[in-house]
């Protein structure tokens, strides 16, 4: 984990209030480091100074390309993401990276992976899907968005495999929640991977109890590196706890109590 300045290479609006940002490294030496970043890990981004925005914002790694450039996708949902969205090509962004523990892709040997994402939980699943697909895993994705103009990366996920999109109001794809799809369809998969708001994760893990799977958990964070205890989640086994920013954000589905 390191602190570095990333350089904004591109800033594009890809859906309502949703920005895709390409970030480059300020040193070539780091390129190979970035290649080792694991899907599910995140950047902890300083979006302003202490007087405007004291806390860093956690944003998932949505992709890493062959040059070590990083893609993030985020929704403008408050002051910090609004400030971040105004950073254009050439701006420098202070980030801690890579933060947290991602999906254990190296230890998995899967035929079929089911990705279940909701809203701003979708971005890390793209990097995950791409990584798994490159290893020959078949990818099925179910992605939920609020409505049509919130949808992004539909083509990109379609390229990875079968992809179903649902919207809360049916304005794009199926109407309903991702869990409705789980109910209706009889999908064959070895392992599921889910990222999205906590109520969605609860619904998904309830529906898929007993299945092998991983979830990525959200929480308000302080340090983002495991030092402040802001972001804990109770471990399912007894009285312990896990730090989302360090032990997570990815946990085995049966590891933590949501």
């Amino acid at each position: 984990m390191m602190q570095t300045e990333l350089i904004v290479l591109a800033n594009e609006k890809i859906a309502d209030q949703t920005i895709e940002m390409q970030l480059g490294l300020n040193s070539d030496n780091l390129g190979t480091e970035v290649q080792k970043f694991v899907p599910g890990q995140f950047l902890h981004v300083k979006v302003g100074e202490a007087d405007t925005t004291m806390l860093r914002r956690p944003i998932s790694i949505a992709d890493v390309d062959g040059n070590g450039n990083i893609t993030i996708i985020f929704k403008i949902s408050g002051r910090g993401t609004d400030m971040l969205s105004k950073q254009t090509a050439g701006s420098r962004i202070d980030a801690l990276l890579p933060c947290g523990t991602g999906y254990p892709v190296d230890n998995l040997n899967l035929d079929t992976a089911l990705l279940i994402g909701g809203g701003i939980g979708v971005p890390p699943l793209y990097y995950l899907g791409k990584t798994l697909a490159a290893r020959g895993t078949r990818i099925i994705s179910i992605l939920g968005f609020q409505k049509a103009d919130h949808v992004f990366y539909k083509e990109k996920f379609a390229e990875l495999g079968e992809s179903i999109i649902v919207t809360d109001d049916g304005s794009y794809g199926e109407k309903g929640f991702v869990t409705d799809c789980l109910k209706e369809m009889d999908i064959d998969f070895d392992c599921f991977f889910s990222c999205g708001p906590t109520p969605m994760l609860q619904a998904v893990t309830n529906k898929l109890t007993g299945r092998h799977g991983y979830i990525s958990v959200e929480q308000r964070m302080g340090c983002g590196i495991g030092a402040c205890y802001a972001c804990v989640v109770p471990a399912k086994s007894g009285t312990g706890f896990k730090k989302i920013c360090k032990d997570g954000p990815v946990f085995a589905a049966n590891e933590v109590s949501l």
Partner: protein, 311 residues
């Protein structure tokens, strides 16, 4: 060469900068970022007798030039701290100050004793000011009689120097300082957080699960400076000053107000290199304002007020 050295009871510091309790864990994470030998000292997260899970989440909120936290003294308990965390820190040539919390005088004494016996720390900081747990010692921080009593009993039990960490949530900080001085404290740490709240407009409820949290960061610096200055006029105890430090200028403000060393809390969360950046910048800044060394700056603002009484 401007010397950054400063001496406090039990602590020979190579510089006056230490991370504040709770914003630095037990140092492991930060040791991945920089060499902890650079620090004047390290103050570890509060230790209680038994492991504590702390409060429900969310535990942090952002405020204007500050933040609220309601961690609730989460820690693995003094036993695990002594066996697993302190040995890690002892590889560094940096003094360790252990922050001690408890619900009863007996708990404070037991935790302090265990830490003393470990031989792995150089000083104790009694946290009688955590606003985030009902049984977190906050009653000791509001009542001068209790504060003096817990200080005295810990002092009776341990050989290590004892710093008492004062709460700003009081009408009379000088009275509290004098009480713990009378109780035998070797030094003061001040300030802990101010109790605050944020309402989440969407849920129409307090944002923090614990409802209230401790306000820290630059927002509270004027309150901290005032309290350090006031206490310095009425107590001879050395002060570790804190509250809103994020730059070397802030350190100098605390030194002049009367602190002998400082702790940096929230700034580490904003920028994990805050402490080392401040340490690097401090000599140049002392020089700019005409100080030959840190010792000279301490209480610089009070020189004309003369008699710092020991009463």
């Amino acid at each position: 060469m401007i010397s950054l050295e400063t001496k406090l009871p039990g602590l020979d510091l190579k510089n006056p900068i230490m991370p504040a309790s709770g914003c630095f864990g037990f140092g492991r994470e930060f040791s991945e970022l920089y060499d902890l030998n650079k620090l004047g000292a390290v103050v570890i997260k509060a230790a209680t007798l038994n492991p504590r899970y702390g409060n429900q989440t969310p535990r942090v909120a952002e405020t204007a030039a500050g933040m609220l936290n309601s961690i609730g003294l989460q820690n693995p308990g003094v036993e695990t701290i002594c066996s697993e965390e302190l040995p890690f820190l002892s590889q560094f040539k940096t003094p360790v100050i252990a922050n001690v919390a408890g619900s009863t005088i007996e708990e404070y004494v037991a935790v302090a004793k265990r830490l003393d016996e470990s031989g792995l720390i150089q000083a104790l900081e009694l946290n009688i000011s955590c606003p985030n747990v009902k049984e977190g010692g906050v009653q000791f921080g509001k009542d001068p009689v209790l504060a003096a009593e817990v200080t005295a009993q810990v002092k009776e039990t341990v050989a290590l120097p004892v710093y008492v960490k004062l709460s700003p949530n009081t009408a009379d900080i000088v009275q509290m300082a004098k009480a713990v001085e009378a109780g035998g404290a070797d030094g003061l740490s001040m300030i802990n957080t101010l109790t605050g709240m944020q309402i989440d407009l969407s849920s129409k409820k307090p944002l923090l699960a614990n409802q209230t949290g401790g306000l820290s960061g630059p927002a509270i610096k004027p309150v901290a400076i005032r309290m350090v200055y006031e206490v310095r006029q009425h107590s001879g105890l050395p002060i570790i000053g804190m509250g809103g430090i994020s730059a070397a200028e802030d350190v100098l403000e605390f030194l002049i107000a009367g602190a002998s060393a400082v702790a940096v809390g929230t700034a580490n969360i904003h920028d994990p290199f805050a402490c080392v950046n401040i340490i690097d910048r401090l000599p140049q800044l002392l020089e700019k304002y005409g100080f030959q060394n840190v010792e000279e700056a301490i209480g610089g603002g009070n020189r004309n007020e003369a008699n710092v009484s020991r009463s």
